[in-house]
């Protein structure tokens, strides 16, 4: 194997820091997975760097998932699970968003696979993505009221 997963991930964080010292707000290590917390203003640039830098080549976006910390602020958390097929490496990016009606940059122009993931998050959490080509509800009916995966939405729905 040679290099452990942890040291691989440390090296990734270091590379991003060398490129732009302000690009990472925080690095979280948990159970051998590292999470880079990225400020909203830097998200697009960091994603482009991670995808295009020859030493990193995170060419594959596995998943984007939302999380609601209601009533704690910053309320919303978006997790981007990246994969580098050429380097067999994984990484998680995290974005935090404040308020009940947050707007965050879309990564669909960088990884087209994010299209449906972001629509799903818009549909279920009500997070809007700036620069998304077609931000519509994906799973729920168009005229649905509320965002079901928010923590202030009852499990049984409104009756």
């Amino acid at each position: 194997m040679g290099e452990t997963e942890e040291s691989k991930q440390d090296r990734i964080a270091q590379r991003v820091r060398d490129w732009d010292a302000n690009a990472i707000a925080e690095v979280i290590e948990y159970r051998g997975e590292s999470t880079l917390v990225v400020p909203k203003s830097h998200l697009r640039r960091v994603c482009e760097f991670l995808r295009d830098s020859p030493a990193l080549r995170f060419n594959f976006l596995s998943d984007v998932s939302g999380l609601d910390r209601f009533p704690v602020e910053p309320r919303f958390q978006l997790n981007y699970h990246l994969l580098s097929i050429p380097h067999r490496a994984t990484l998680r990016l995290r974005l935090r968003a404040h308020g009940a009606d947050p707007v965050v940059p879309s990564v669909t122009p960088i990884w087209p696979t994010a299209n449906w993931h972001e629509r799903e998050i818009f549909d279920l959490f009500g997070v809007r993505f700036e620069g998304h080509p077609n931000l519509e509800r994906l799973l729920m009916p168009q005229d649905w009221e509320g965002y079901p995966l928010r923590k202030d939405y009852p499990v049984q729905g409104y009756r």
Binding site: F60, S65, P112, L139, M140
Partner: protein
């Protein structure tokens, strides 16, 4: 469910819009595809999903970690054990525990049988989509054998919930390996039979060769995984890239092709069934006859029944686990496995309470379906059914 209507798609008079589904036999469930046609050529295709959305992720938040296992079966109902495995491994990662060796080998054995059963359904239904009725009947005959093995081991044909956090639900019954051995010995000749019917069949070739072509670049940017990605020459298989559950101890190949068409995906899936049979044989040899099937983790895994009768502590743990569950430390993990359809990822977030704070299933069908327009735009309407079939979607998994 988006609002694509007949009116929003139509161009300046030349094209016509055709609505396919959601109740259409070849959509394998309730998928709706809105097609814009110019004569017989598809100009634009828009898949619409959400007709089977049941809110599984929200429901998981209201159950304890152990109870949520039963919901994972219902996501991809053709490969329930793969879902069980992904969820259990994610929670085990969150807890920092590992299932015992024997349980891990049995997990590998049964998930590979799941892959065989799922691919058999695919071969059968894809064949029936393209007009070959008998292959469907043969495939379902063999699939039934696998389901009977599941029934023997877990008591259920389909919604097994057999993998539990930290191990297995119960000790497999005596003689289960003989039963599996009979199936494994029979299967290669049965696969040859399907191949006799399809692989060099002229109709099959003309319906699938060069149809639904996708390039490696497009597949990666659209997040496609599984046999569809491997048909473009990319060898990404989670079992090889990030081995879990002791897959690194097994000797198997990942079949790849560079054609990227429907025919190559058929060839790959048949080859994958053969590779899975290899893994099943190795797993049968590796499984120790004796040994625990549950991890030794007091307070998380229910103690043995015998211990409960003589040890005070075991009784307390038993009571606590079945009344309130267990509480993993706060944190988030993501675990990926190779399901029959591609990368199945489970993201679990804990807030330190006995219920998962958030569970997200990154299901391969959901992501792979995004590649459908790339495959069919510019092709004939007759190829639409082939392309829907070839992506091997399960709508339960797409909509969750």
């Amino acid at each position: 469910m988006a609002s694509t209507t007949i009116n929003t798609l139509t161009g300046p008079g030349k094209t016509m819009v055709l609505n396919m589904g959601p109740q259409h036999p070849s959509t394998h469930g309730v998928l709706r595809v809105v097609l814009e046609l110019d004569g017989e050529t598809v100009v634009k295709a828009v898949p619409e999903i959400g007709y089977l959305h049941t809110g599984i992720e929200k429901s998981c938040e209201a159950l304890t970690y152990s109870q949520a296992v039963t919901l994972t079966d219902r996501i991809d109902y053709l490969a329930p054990l793969s879902n069980n495995l992904a969820y259990c491994l994610a929670v085990e990662k969150l807890l920092g525990i590992e299932a015992p060796k024997r349980a891990q080998y049995i997990r590998v054995l049964l998930t590979e049988l799941t892959r065989i059963a799922s691919h058999l359904v695919w071969i059968g239904t894809h064949a029936i989509d393209l007009g070959a009725m008998s292959v469907f009947l043969y495939c379902f005959r063999e699939r039934e054998d696998v389901l009977k093995i599941f029934e023997m081991v877990s008591g259920q044909r389909m919604m097994t919930s057999y993998f539990r956090i930290g191990g297995l639900a119960l000790e497999p019954p005596p003689g289960y390996l003989d039963r599996i051995k009979r199936f494994v010995d029979l299967m290669p000749s049965r696969l040859d039979e399907y191949e006799d019917l399809l692989t060099r069949n002229r109709i099959w070739l003309s319906r699938t060769k060069g149809v639904g072509v996708i390039t490696a670049e497009d597949a990666i940017s659209l997040g496609v995984t599984g046999p569809t990605l491997r048909s473009t020459g990319v060898d990404y298989d989670v079992r090889k890239y990030f081995p879990y559950s002791r897959y690194d101890e097994f000797d198997f190949n990942v079949p790849i092709s560079t054609d990227g068409d429907c025919y190559s995906r058929y060839v790959l899936r048949v080859a994958e069934v053969r590779e899975s049979l290899k893994i099943v044989r190795q797993a049968m040899a590796k499984i120790p006859a004796e040994g625990p099937i549950k991890a030794d983790a007091p307070g998380i895994i229910a103690p043995q029944r015998e211990k409960m009768k003589i040890e005070m502590e075991a009784l307390i743990y038993h009571f606590k686990i079945y009344t309130e569950g267990f509480s993993p430390p706060p944190g988030e993990v993501y675990h990926r496995i190779e399901s029959p359809r591609g990368e199945l990822g489970v993201f679990v977030a804990s807030d330190g309470s006995p219920k998962p704070y958030r569970v997200k299933f990154r299901t391969p069908s959901f992501v792979n379906l995004q590649a459908l327009p790339k495959m069919i735009e510019g092709r004939l309407i007759a190829d639409v059914v082939t392309c829907i079939g070839t992506t091997d979607i399960v709508l339960g998994e797409v909509d969750r």
